[in-house]
Subunit: 147 residues, 12 copies
């Protein structure tokens, strides 16, 4: 069995479905996890899906994924725009990284247009809601395959 | 009994009274809590007064206040100027928020002039020391009342 | 009897209650004056409450307050963001100054985020409507007392 | 008889015709008033044409126009670029506003390219000299009509 | 018979009337052409009214207008803000130029506040809809006359 | 049969496969078209796949897609960063838009970090090569379905 | 007898001698007027020395100096940095202008480093206190002489 | 016979000799072509000399030069400063490129100081009029020889 | 025995030796601790050497060092550039602080050129690898001695 | 006899009188020296008047003036805007410094608006030609006297 | 015999041929001088070729060239980007100036994109190595001839 | 015997000990030289310690160090922030470079936060006074050893 894909979610994503649904949609984080797991299953893969409000815990998970994961799908939420520590961890991770956002961050406030995560990611998918996670899993499968 | 007002304090405020008293005054954080509790008591209210050095813990408390609080009085200290994650939590909180600072941040270094918390707050009180907390409690009472 | 607190209001505040009520609320400037006077009365103080559309007249009133006032509560309205002349007067005033705004200027247009008045003020209260004036009077009482 | 159109002119426009004629043309302010009055007359309208060097007086006239005018044609001259107080008055005015400049401000110094008045105006006419006032009167007639 | 006034319209203006009517109004480009032609007729003039989505074609028309036109009324739409090539053509054109916009570009997104066309134009009219074209024709008549 | 998805490609993408393969990969544009068509076929949809070096032609195609397409997948290449005209067309298009880039534009030169297309797009997919087009087709299918 | 030199002083300069003496020195404005008058007398000239807190009054005095003065010595105080209206008046004045400041504005806050008055002045004297006015009178005498 | 040098000229250069001769000189584009051809002939080379007002046509010619040219001498005129599409084509071209301008762009307006073409060019020659083309041909000969 | 020197290390430094060795060298964090301890031993001092991925934990350790340490050597890693909370803790610490970085941050990406830690540090040592820690220990010994 | 006033002149001032006389006037540097010497003589003082094109030589002279001069009048010419080394020397000089410029640098190119010399100077005199040196000598006499 | 062309070279160019040959090529400065002299000889001209590491010496040579030279070819090396003093000298020089750089400065670090020399030069040649000097000599001959 | 380490000091450092001792300490430059020599002696090395106020002389010494030195310790003082010529020399030097400053330049004025020297240096030591030179010598020994 291949190593799982780490799907890491940042602060406040645990509120999904109840928080500002006009921006983030009606799906809960469990729904999103199910969407990702389903597509992974279809491709013979597995996801390790987690959420944390702590920057340092996310850094530690990225470090863990270096050893135990085949790739990282990262939705760093508010930390996307501010965390150099997370960028450092990702740049050291040595597995493929895909950045995901539920909303199109480029149509929101200016301070959400800049992403430290992008500097370490192969690609970016944003604005496509829960489905964006399924697409990211499929893209990750392609990248891991082609190695 | 109404839900309590969450009074949340950010990093280093546990040092109050000993740290740079020419900027922050001689009151300890316990003194500040007492000032807030007294005014709340006069108005038939209660405060839930907390402090943390961890951004993620503050995010979690804001999420808790959505359910269990009638409002949030937030002194995010150094995180005021840098935490998009905290802003995201506050914008999702759906209870009235008042931002407080002990010192007048607009007369200090430039990087303290910008506040992410302000974007989610009804109002701001700064530079009035411990008394600022009492005023914030009174203002919060007025806002909650008028709902 | 102590010297009165000067409560000085800048351009267009005479329109209060009729102008853009979704931003500035339904209170007229007379209502605001009454709110301030009431709190001052409870604390054994008096307010001298004025409004002008003329920058130069406000400068002259600030100069007058140096002699005849115990403190200045200043809502400079549109001049907040542009008047160095007013700042010069306030810096020369040598009595405590508290800046007040009815709305939360930090959630409005960018050019309203910068305040010259803040550079001369002990503290700032904004976004709390007419009640903000009462809180400012109370804070001023505390500051004058502690001298 | 309909309410008059307020045509308000800012600092130094009383010098028109003598001051830097290569920029502002040879017409005096009386000539400009006549041009505006003539076109208004043809359309069955009346202008109330005024000039002041005082920002506060212009603010007061804009407040008056809220009550007694059908629209405001505003050439704020040097105050165009600096007066938030005037912008506040205009935004509260609740009658249509057309901004006029005699010269093309976009071909002059950089600090003349930004206008606070534009933020409150339906439209802008600049660089067309005294004739620009006639065109503004005609445009105002059209706007008032379509209400 | 005098040379015609070139009235040149840039990309997407062919969609007028159907595209975002809350910004651009309900008039089609044909309606606008009729408004311009009517005013021109009253003044004994003729308009040559054209639209193109191609920057190069607009440049070529401006070059043609140097020879065959008495003036240019230019609504460069999206190219207003980006086309140095168009500015070069206009600066070489040697006939009077008036810039027109249907909407008030100064109340829209920041990137629409800067205009290359303004650097070559005698004057600017914006925010006055189809009527703005009629006013531009009249202004052009005055300028051409006074030569 | 539903209306086709317009897949529109900007300048130089006809060189794909031969131009800087270390950035853009070894696939030709025909390969990319095949990838998109295949996924569309699996979902019962059709793509109308085109490329042009002319900004004006792309504007025209976007206008055409308003009528005849169910959605637009847009890789505007170099025009992504400069074309306000294209943005105007996309904002008028009234069908869902997904922005695609072969490479991760956020890891390339600074001038490639800003996109006008993003302001009109539901979502963005970048850095995932030809596969990104397949994912965009799938996302478009989901969006069209949910209407 | 030649026309007098207008010596015009802006807001707050009436406080001189009492206000922040560590910046502005111990001389009152009357002392400064005497210093200027004495030097003028030695050179067979006369000063017309005035102060106002009102921008509009200063504009009007500059307009008056066009007719009745031989030159203008201008200390615009806080208006130096903000008043385009004053600059417009000075550029229209057509008599030589010398800018004076009591303190060295280039060693104070950043917002005091920019002067609109400088754009219309022959020269600038700053940081030399009351003596700076005497030097300005002497320089003006030289300029007027050489005409 | 070696492949020809492509000498490609952008918008408005067809006006050469008639447009603003104080900046661009009295030579027509045909004169410039003759100057380039003469120097090329002396060195046993041939030029393919073209001009277009269309960005897309220039992109196509650059693509053609990849196959059929030995080098590109590019005067992109107004597109120099704005066209990322042209830069993309030039970076893909894989033949040596020399940038030429008739005038010294660094002594003109600020927006002419930045060039996208420079990022792909071996060298730059500007301000030397038609002679600059001859020098570019000679430099190109040297570069091609040394390969 | 004197109080120990706190040597505090930020996020991802636990990966040292395995992560991007071309930037950070081959030493592990244990090696670095040994280098620091050795030099401290030679000088009769002791180090308390720690690492954390959590900003809040580092803040708490700095607060602890106020009481129990003689000085702080701080390598805040990615938090160097973003953490105002850490700066606040350091400014309150009241013991000497030396900032250390393994790599020369001034030759890396722009966002690594700014340090909040520097504002509270006596001095900075960067680019000298593990040896930099030994030098910092020696410098700290000198500073503590001279008190 | 008191110590002399050092009058130090920077690069290219040896060309005075021949170089761009419409900016710098017709006086040679010897004329300027004579003007300064004459006023100094009237006040019982002496000038040591020098010019150098070498930054390092000016630094050395400023160091010499610490010991042997009573004050420094500095016209640093082009080095005014760029030399931190000269600023360091002036800040260490411990004698009063007056900055002089022949032309009004605030009406010239932008890069001449910033002066490092101002940060170390008591006052600034500019735009008053050779006479500015006489005024500077007189001002220096006053400052030295009042010590 | 005509006056010689001054070919002036700034700091570090004496290292040519040994310093970073992948940027500056393998020619020594003597080789470059020979290349320039040869082309000058063919055109009946002479070069006076010099190098200095001292800014002040270059200023002095430019001053000398005003009298004794027919033109200046200037490669100011690192001073290109920082020396206002050199610009002042060149602007006073009153002979034609051509700026030369061996490498294409516009493809190097950002701070090399700005040149003070360009503000005084007729034209610029860069990126063409030693041959660039020959081309500059030929261009200078043409300019001098046409006078 | 190994080649000496060049320890090069820029403008005004000859004043050390007398100039602003609260910033630069009480040590003279001779003291600093002794501190460096002592540590070098302990490590079997020698320093060649020099100071100059002339940028060009420092450039020449750096060029000399390429041949005759084993490394360069550079305190460029005021030239740190402005000299591209010095940077060019250092980048060509091909021996290891360590940058030293006596004070912590990151806590001083903004214009001292940027260093050209850093771009060529292995590492930086600042704020540690004379001891910083000893540490730099030791670090240099380590670097030279490891080659």
């Amino acid at each position: 069995m291949p190593k799982p894909i780490y799907v890491l979610n940042g602060p406040n994503l645990n509120l999904l479905g109840t928080r500002e649904p006009e921006i983030y949609g009606k799906h809960t984080l469990d729904d999103v996890a199910a969407v990702a797991a389903k597509r992974a299953g279809e491709l013979g893969l597995k996801c390790d899906f987690r959420q944390s409000n702590l920057e340092g815990e996310l850094v530690t998970w990225v470090q863990e994924a270096r050893e135990k994961g085949s790739g990282i799908i990262m939705n760093a939420a508010g930390l996307t725009h501010t965390s150099v520590a997370l960028l450092d961890a990702l740049q050291a991770a040595d597995v493929p990284i895909i950045e995901v956002h539920l909303s199109n961050i480029f149509r929101r406030e200016d301070f959400r247009h800049h992403s430290y995560v992008s500097k370490a990611a192969v690609g970016v998918i944003c604005g496509l809601g829960a489905q964006g996670y399924a697409l990211a899993v499929e893209a990750m499968a392609g990248i891991v395959d082609s190695k």
